[in-house]
Symmetry: C2
Subunit: 419 residues, 2 copies
Amino acid sequence: MKAEIITVGTELMIGSTLNTNGPYLSRKLTDQGIEVAYHQSISDGREVIEEALRIALGRSDLIFLGGGLGPTQDDQTKEIVAKSLGRKLIRDKDLEEDLRRYFSSRNYKMTQNNLKQADIIQGSQIIQNKNGTAVGECLALDRGYLYLLPGPPREFEPMVDDLVANYLPKGDFDIYLKSIQVMLLGESTIESRLRELGLESPETSINTFAKLGEVEIKIISKLLREDPDKAEKLAYHERVIQELKKEFAPFIYSEEGEDLAQALVQKLIKKGQRISFAESITGGRLAQKITSVPGASKILKSSYVTYSNEYKIKDLGVSQDLLARKGAVCQEVADEMALGLYKRTGADLSLGTTGEAGPISNENKPIGTLYFSIAHQGKLVEGKKLDLRGDRQSIQEKGTILVLSHLMAYLKRGENHDQ
Amino acid sequence: MKAEIITVGTELMIGSTLNTNGPYLSRKLTDQGIEVAYHQSISDGREVIEEALRIALGRSDLIFLGGGLGPTQDDQTKEIVAKSLGRKLIRDKDLEEDLRRYFSSRNYKMTQNNLKQADIIQGSQIIQNKNGTAVGECLALDRGYLYLLPGPPREFEPMVDDLVANYLPKGDFDIYLKSIQVMLLGESTIESRLRELGLESPETSINTFAKLGEVEIKIISKLLREDPDKAEKLAYHERVIQELKKEFAPFIYSEEGEDLAQALVQKLIKKGQRISFAESITGGRLAQKITSVPGASKILKSSYVTYSNEYKIKDLGVSQDLLARKGAVCQEVADEMALGLYKRTGADLSLGTTGEAGPISNENKPIGTLYFSIAHQGKLVEGKKLDLRGDRQSIQEKGTILVLSHLMAYLKRGENHDQ
């Protein structure tokens, strides 16, 4: 079963908007064991939409068309699709009622254009939209299904979730999915290790999804519901999960699909430990990652961005002599930052970062050099030099993720010792 | 002249990578007055590549094919393109030499697969790649041009810049481009104002490009080089720029393509003013935005993330009584944070933020409430309540950009008074 995604919108063609709908839907379909074979992006225009649809109808079983369902004149997707399929547009009385209620409750004036949103293509099922006035549609075709969805991501994404749960053809397969989040290893390292392990089977595939410094490993098994060997194949799926969990054990930070900061905040809340940061090179990013997680106030003590030597001395008590002798970019300064921070805040975990993000090196240290230090109850427990590559922002961002990763690895080691 | 972009890579089809190459190239082509009409994304596979190329050759004048030029077996784009066009692949002796030198200088072993990178399609011009071993190619076709480019963005993007400057067909047009960066106004507000102004002409188009809280307005005029009315049309282009600069004057923060943080750091350096932040709801994001800009160390004094009431009192001297009486989420606390911060750091500009990012409200204030306060030389000059929508991270991020925007607007007003 081949799937094809068509995203409509002139803003996509001039590059003014990143297309996030396509990848969002792609991930969800891949999770269902469905192969996404094609993705077309086109501008808002009758001929191009007709052409894209014609191409897709000729080669794909599931067609997803996103965008062009709004009430403005540009949004003519529905009419074009109806015409291409030789079907009529029918005014849905319930939808019309809903729209009238929506507009009158807000004291908006409703135009004929707005009413177009109550038209649906003959024979289609309505997919409700909780975040907007344009509903989605699901049409059974000779060969498969066509889905119409609105373009704005905050409408598109929840509707995709609904669609995947309730409007995909129930094939003869059951899907088993497990996700493992890994830190401190590059995607290519993980992929070559996966190739060596050779665990994939016709039913069980392993995909990796990389974000900066974090990699998600997804194990997907697509098993025929009536397969006589199903129990055995399901056991194999479980075996693959166990092998990967063993293989990457020190590097796994979550099996719940969380990002690193979320997993870290949860772990600290569970341990009842509080944290604080003294940031030079990371410039506020450590605090920012932690405060982006709900519940951060439970575990974050005061945090400092001490970018200048002056405040490393004043706020953290870093030795003036050390700074004069070795400069700000060295392990000793990171250590003194972490220790000085502990004195100030008494946080269970205090972290210091210092380094050179470029583009010009102030102290003649290589650009991309980062030192971090972690103190636990005021005792130095972990500190290291990282050599980072890329431009200023990549160095800062990558460094932040790596420092949080080393903190997580430290906390994990502590748990293993406890056991 | 219609352009079509084809991006190849299975990682795009399963949604594991956002496609940034397509939008990057789209923006560059739009800047050249070239209409991008189609964008196809496909997986690494002989048939799908052949099919995509066949479709594109039938309808587009400029075809850009990105990805699939690496040395691994998946990367077969070049062979497929050559075959589709009925041309041969020819080993380029200079490229072979370069590759051998590259591998021997790094003590890497070179395989037959690696050598494939020295093959180019008969009749094509080579586009050099400064960041990788896969060169690009430019082929003249009957109808137009076909360009092959490697997939990794750090190779793709500089090669696109080179391509746009040197390998696009010299049409009969000259392109005039001006970019204006606007803050504190939504894209839809700007667009409806642009519609009212009605300044577009057949030669002069106006596009908007929105990032969170920042909008870029681009004025592009595409003038026939030999147009007898060229001078007049160019004067019109300039008039449009002047009208838009007048229309959006209080909201323009740059005409140099900078982002808001860059423009702010430049302005503060020019003024010789230093800044510091006391962040509660923004959680380190203000410092992070400023430190992401080179030269930030010149203008950033120490900065604090005081997430808890305890440290609002301890580090900033916010009154315990006030916190007990009115809670942390109010204008008075933001004001006291800004003033307390000035006492600590003596920064010319000190900013405080407090608010409720959700998902649960601690003090029964509406989620999305943000108060900020700006002190200039220890005197309160600007403070306001913002009502933000979205999830926790959107509230924090949008709030950060808006606070920086209000700071920029304050600095701009100061300059106008000075004049």
